[in-house]
Symmetry: C2
Subunit: 331 residues, 2 copies
């Protein structure tokens, strides 16, 4: 094996031009730089991302969520290979703030996507190591920008089916895809309420063989339910489709919906508007995360924040007074 | 008419004890003090709320939303009178950040609730004057605490059917009720996606006369749709009920659901947990609102924030760099 690459082996300008040239090793090194917690690395990482910013934004960004067992990796493998076959360059990233706790990151094991990880036209990167959700999401957003600068024109961002991480991934993508399992009637898998607001499409995997009928019934039931909800955009009614990643059925049709959505959103101007809003929201989120980091950095301050939160939770002091006390800690 | 009460006519301690004694004029004055933008009034208001805090929290807090024309005031009038008839003391508040723009506040015209506003056992207060949503919501939350200290044991908080104000009201109440109109099939009123996540019950008004059948059909359709969603709590399946505020039908049954929900949530411990979480969230929201207020206070800073947001939105600078620039403005 090659020696472990270090984040410092190239200067920022060289690293930027190597990334732009599509050098995969440079891209991996650049992402490692972004993920580093060292202050000097972080300063360099910012310069790097700023330098590459003009070359970003050209990929179609797709978020993918689903409960464990739904077949996320198989889906990404099948979809990724189909996209590579069409001439796309596909980057696969992940947001999983629980990765350290659970002892392994989603996507950590590339054997889960054996074909895709073997092709030059795909780039797979596991979730950044655990931290706060804000920290993990920020690093994945920047990794996405670097992948775009390196010429990847489709970015798939996988997430675990946990509320806040789904919101974070939805906030960094153009299309948010929720994967479900077949089942009908009493067996039907419930759609999480929060997910209804985020999903641009619901896709039922494992629609093959004996499951086909159940998958179609489930799709009809989901369609009926979604029909009663006001669409977020007048130009997009959330579709419910069935497919089988393992049998390779319906993958092209699934991707076609993503393309249809992009076309509809671009025609209405919502595509660019959503990106602009996301970028401004990222900025405010980063600012807030930074304040939160300051509050966590010092053990004495952290203890004071916790006791203030407890006093507010128990109704001993008003939220306003609690806010005063925390504001004082920050000045 | 009596002379306009001033916020300064009583000292804080006296005002607090008058509020506790259930003096309605004192309660109105205390809320005026809370709503004042003068710095000295705000300092006094904080002391007042802190002093009354031990006497708060005993009311059942119910948020009510619905599109214009759904019959919110008629519903609150009918529900409020039924509650007063049962021996409750009912406070009616509102969150409407658009009130100044639209030229009139919801609840501003008490003739919309003629009976309720005539009884001693009810207290109706229009939405605080327009400001940011955060400012309006903060004042309503504190007004709610004062009403509780004054002995009101049911607080109804009305809101207009606009996304963020619905979230704000949901975040300050124990039960969130969404009012809808009858209609079935193609005529069916869509449920907003965001509302699905917030609502503890959907109630279809105007279920009387010719509308009855359509209302029942609509209820069945909504029930079918909601059934597919995973409930937020294992102890509460969101019910869909029909009623008629104007005919006085189904009001008792509607309230019974609110009580059933409270009982279920208290038995599971979720009632207290939701309140604790709400209080901590209020605190962080207030802290954030305060930073935002600092950024808006100075015209030069405001202009700089706007140009930073624009540069981030247009992709000229990274969100991280934008966050740096704004952080510098705050130090």
């Amino acid at each position: 094996m090659a020696a472990k690459t270090t984040a410092r082996s190239l200067d920022t300008a060289t690293l930027a031009s190597e990334v732009r040239a599509g050098n995969r090793a440079a891209l991996a090194r650049a992402i490692t730089l972004i993920e580093s917690r060292r202050a000097d690395h972080q300063a360099e990482a910012r310069k790097l991302v700023q330098a590459l910013l003009p070359f970003t934004g050209r990929a179609l960004r797709v978020g993918i969520t689903g409960s464990p067992g739904v077949g996320k990796s198989t889906t990404i493998e099948a979809l990724g290979m189909a996209l590579v076959g069409r001439g796309h360059k596909v980057a696969v990233l992940a947001v999983d703030p629980t990765s350290a706790r659970s002892g392994g990151s989603i996507l950590g094991d590339k054997t889960r996507m054996a074909q895709l990880s073997a092709t030059d036209r795909a780039f797979i990167r596991p979730s950044p190591a655990a931290g706060t959700l804000g920290g993990v999401a920020a690093k994945t957003r920047e990794a996405m920008l670097l992948c775009e600068a390196a010429g990847f024109d489709v970015v798939l961002v996988e997430t675990v089916g946990i509320g806040q991480s789904e919101t974070a991934v939805c906030d960094m993508t153009d299309f948010f895809l929720a994967l479900m399992l077949p089942g009908a009637g009493d067996e039907l898998q419930g759609i999480k309420k929060g997910l209804v607001e985020l999903a641009d499409m619901i896709a039922i995997n494992k629609a093959d063989g004996d499951n086909l009928k159940r998958a179609n019934l489930a799709a009809a039931e989901y369609r009926g339910a979604l029909h009663i909800l006001t669409p977020r955009s007048a130009h997009w009614q959330v579709p419910v489709v069935t497919y089988s990643a393992i049998a390779g059925l319906g993958i092209e049709e699934l991707w076609q919906k993503v393309v249809d959505h992009r076309d509809a959103m671009q025609a209405s101007g919502e595509f660019a508007a959503r990106r602009r809003e996301q970028q401004v929201k990222w900025m405010w989120t980063m600012l807030e995360d930074r304040w939160q980091a300051r509050l966590r950095a010092d053990p004495a301050i952290r203890a004071k924040v916790r006791s203030t939160e407890a006093a507010v939770a128990e109704g001993q002091i008003t939220p306003a007074l609690g806010a005063d006390q925390i504001a004082e800690l920050l000045t």
